[in-house]
């Protein structure tokens, strides 16, 4: 089982849990398991056509999954998945 850390703004959609243990051989499977268990999370993490939103950064332990095998990144028991939103902006219109 891997553990997915739920960012505080999204805990209202995970039964207020700060972390959720999910089965899955890959990151993609674990995230799919997460939104299957907590469907209200799906629209915040995925677009309507099922792609992970561009501003959602996913870490497996200390590594950004983009620099591993992305959603195909293999997981082992005890791995931690963290979800971090991109933070950007600026005064330009």
């Amino acid at each position: 089982m891997a553990q997915i850390q739920i960012p505080s703004p999204l805990r209202q959609y995970s039964g207020k849990q700060a972390s959720v243990d999910v089965p899955g051989k890959t990151v993609g499977e674990a995230l799919a398991g997460l939104v299957s268990r907590h469907p209200d999370l799906k629209r915040h993490l995925y677009t309507d056509d099922g792609k992970l939103r561009a501003f959602v950064n996913v870490y497996v332990n200390d590594e950004d999954m983009r620099y591993l095998q992305k959603e195909a990144t293999a997981l082992k028991d005890g791995d931690t998945i963290s979800i971090v939103p991109s933070i950007a902006g600026g005064c330009r219109l």
Binding site: S86, I87, A88, G89
Partner: protein
């Protein structure tokens, strides 16, 4: 409501003065109290990765966000908001600020106007809503203690 110490308030304003004419940015760590007010316990400076347009855009490296959030969690702190500066521009959220704010509902976005190198106004806005379709910023009272 956002509550922060005078030293933290001055620190985030000073960051904007130091990076002028570029936008500064950083993370606010702390806790949410029972009323939903955010109590800041730490201001963490970040770098602005928008080297292509730093005078009017900012981006925090996700690796920094991940590290800051993890270290905060180990100390029992949560991310309660973010701050950035607007060089020679009002301390008010822009359409870009709103467009780039994603599901951090309940967190504060603190903006400081820095005019000719001097921090002028610091305002805080809370991101409210439930998803991309209805998100908006609302003015938030700031208490400096």
């Amino acid at each position: 409501m956002l509550k922060l110490s005078k030293s933290d308030y001055l620190a985030l304003r000073q960051h904007g003065e130091e990076t002028y004419p570029h936008e500064c940015c950083g993370v606010l760590l702390g806790r949410f109290d029972d009323s939903g007010a955010k109590i800041v316990s730490r201001v963490v400076r970040c770098g602005n990765t928008r080297a292509d347009s730093p005078h009017n855009r900012y981006n925090i490296d996700p690796r920094d966000l991940f590290r800051i959030e993890r270290e905060g969690r180990e100390r029992g702190e949560d991310v309660v908001g973010y701050y950035h500066s607007h060089p020679d521009h009002p301390a008010k959220w822009s359409t870009t600020d709103l467009a780039e704010a994603h599901w951090c509902f309940g967190r504060s976005f603190v903006i400081t106007s820095v005019e000719k190198g001097k921090a002028v106004l610091t305002n805080s806005f809370e991101l409210t809503g439930s998803d991309e379709a209805d998100k908006k910023f609302v003015d938030e009272e700031t208490e400096v203690v």
